[in-house]
């Protein structure tokens, strides 16, 4: 083998590591979690309405957890998507260069605030506030979690959407203006539609982030494993369940295994989102290059 060939193989090995890790994750999750299905049937697991793992016999229905996750995620998106995309459009199309140079890095920096900080803020500031405003027994509700999660996902969505919007060639904008369009028409009819796939990818990635989010929801969602009926009640998500309960389980026990089983569901769910986002942004690239 020549030197050049050797170098190439060397690098190839490292490129394959990601796959290896991904496979490793899958393997560990299944290794630890699969035997849960020996004891709980799959339908009962996914659609069971109650989650009482510590009872004897334990009940392992994760429907409340799934619904909790979805509720919080949807709520978060309702907050984050309009604000995030609005901000993205503002930054890339409307803001004066001076303003843009402040706001854009600001958002990027804020994107780096750790999730536990959001959780903390939610617990000590926002939840009491909600409790007072709506006069409800606890401020730790799906609503609270949604809003906090939404704010948290906002910089992510804004930043990816901003990338997509500002990578729309300047020539489109010039073309539209030179044809007698107003700036708003240019944004609404040319710039944003051209960046649509990038924006959708941003939304889906934001969704993935929200659904996989752990600490925030763990701290502010309230943690009641019941099927939610309103926004203003405590809920418990899949991630929070794992984080909260793993510490107290017996390694290898059914509770331990079922938590891994939840992780499998979570993993597959986010995998799906990611593949969809990937697909969209792939198509987007193709479209932009003709």
């Amino acid at each position: 083998m020549t030197k050049e060939k050797f170098i190439k193989r060397f690098f190839l090995f490292f490129a394959l590591l990601s796959i290896f890790f991904l496979a490793g994750i899958l393997f560990v999750l299944f290794k630890e979690g699969i035997s849960a299905f020996g004891k709980i049937n799959l339908g009962g697991f996914l659609f069971g309405r109650s989650w009482y793992p510590t009872h004897t016999p334990g009940e392992f229905g994760i429907l409340p957890l799934i619904l909790g996750s979805l509720l919080v995620t949807v709520g978060a998106l309702v907050v984050a998507v309009p604000l995030g995309i609005g901000s993205a459009i503002y930054i890339s199309e409307v803001a004066k260069p001076g303003v843009r140079d402040v706001i854009k890095p600001l958002l990027e920096i804020l994107a780096g605030i750790p999730s536990v900080v959001y959780g903390f803020f939610g617990m000590v500031v926002f939840a009491p506030f909600i409790q007072r405003i709506f006069d409800i027994p606890t401020g730790l509700t799906a609503f609270t979690a949604s809003v906090i999660l939404g704010i948290m996902a906002l910089p992510t969505i804004a930043s990816i959407a901003e990338d997509a919007i500002s990578s729309v060639p300047k020539s489109y904008k010039e073309a539209s203006l030179s044809l007698g369009a107003t700036e708003w028409e240019t944004i609404a009819r040319v710039t944003v539609p051209s960046a649509m796939s990038g924006i959708s990818a941003a939304i889906i990635l934001g969704m993935g982030r929200a659904i996989g989010e752990t600490m925030t929801v763990l701290m502010v969602a309230g943690g009641a494993a019941v099927i939610p009926h309103t926004f203003f009640q405590p809920v418990r998500t899949m991630t929070a369940t794992i984080a909260a309960e793993m510490g107290e389980t017996m390694v290898g026990g059914i509770h331990y295994q079922s938590l891994f089983a939840i992780a499998i569901v979570l993993f597959l769910l986010t995998l799906t989102f990611n593949i969809i986002a990937d697909h969209i942004s792939h198509r987007y690239k193709k479209k932009m290059t003709g």
């Binding site: 503002y90 959780g119 903390f120 000590v124």
Partner: protein
């Protein structure tokens, strides 16, 4: 014509509003943390051990723990990430293999952090028997930030115009000479940005270290990589959810949060400054 102008005014107002809300929401978080945390922070807080069941004293083990974890994670994932990125951008030919690798990286980055925690638990803590330790936590975090590093490095490498490579090859350089002489030197700032962002991310993560590295309280500083540790993010969580004197713990949590935020934001700021500098200086 008038109607078109009005539509424009309304549209722009909505945009201003959304930016305003976004900035307001995010800065109010900072505001509270800074206002409430600033009073707690002093030299002692930063340099002494916690006392009296976490109701008094400082957070030095948590600071150190976060430092060890983040350093360990970056030491582990930086070389891996760079090597993988070099393969992808310099050697890989478009084909099934690359698509799979890339899909793998994208999905790895989308895996929820708690799942990484479980993975670390399953592999490092249990299978390799490292136990709950700095090593397990750092490795878990390292894998978590690997996609970030690979992406940033790859982006930095791809930003080097193809024409540089062609020029070098056409001058009779070998591939490796080209990478070493022309590609990598120009990609270093970009790779550094990626690495710094990775450090910031690693420092702020909680879920992955829940079961792999941290403990609520340890009475001494770690002496080896196989020791349990405290970490800032987990410390905040623990202060809020465990212990019994929450009225005493919340102020400490504020202080810890301010320290963590300052740390992470400073790191991110650094990365962003480097990136802006780089974009400005770049003429090709």
């Amino acid at each position: 014509m008038k109607k078109r102008k009005i539509v424009q005014t309304i549209g722009f107002s909505l945009l201003y509003l959304s930016v305003f809300i976004a900035i307001f929401a995010l800065s109010s978080i900072l505001y509270f943390v800074i206002i409430k945390g600033a009073g707690v922070i002093n030299w002692e807080f930063l340099t002494s051990m916690p006392k009296e069941g976490m109701t008094k004293g400082g957070i030095v083990p948590a600071i150190l723990g976060t430092f060890y974890l983040a350093t360990g994670a970056i030491l582990f994932s930086l070389p891996l990430g760079i090597f993988a990125a070099i393969y992808l951008s310099e050697y890989a030919k478009q084909g099934r293999l690359v698509r799979i690798v890339r899909l793998g990286i994208n999905n790895l980055s989308g895996v929820p952090s708690i799942v990484f925690g479980l993975f670390g638990l399953g592999i490092f803590v249990k299978f390799f028997g490292f136990g709950v330790s700095i090593l397990s936590g750092a490795l878990t975090l390292g894998i978590l930030i690997l996609p970030t590093i690979i992406r940033a490095s790859e982006e930095a490498l791809l930003a080097i115009p193809e024409s540089f490579r062609e020029a070098s090859l056409a001058l009779g350089a070998t591939k490796w000479q080209t990478i070493k002489g022309v590609v990598l030197p120009n990609a270093i700032p970009g790779i550094m940005t990626g690495a710094i962002l990775g450090v910031g991310r690693a420092a702020g993560e909680t879920a992955p270290i829940l079961f792999t590295a941290t403990t609520f309280f340890c009475s001494r500083l770690p002496s080896s990589i196989f020791d349990e540790i405290q970490a800032l993010p987990y410390h905040i969580y623990a202060l809020m959810t465990e212990g019994t004197h929450s009225e005493l713990q919340v102020p400490i949590a504020y202080g810890t949060t301010l320290v963590l935020i300052s740390l992470v934001l400073l790191i991110n700021l650094l990365a962003i400054i480097i990136r802006y500098k780089m974009r400005k200086g770049k003429k090709w």
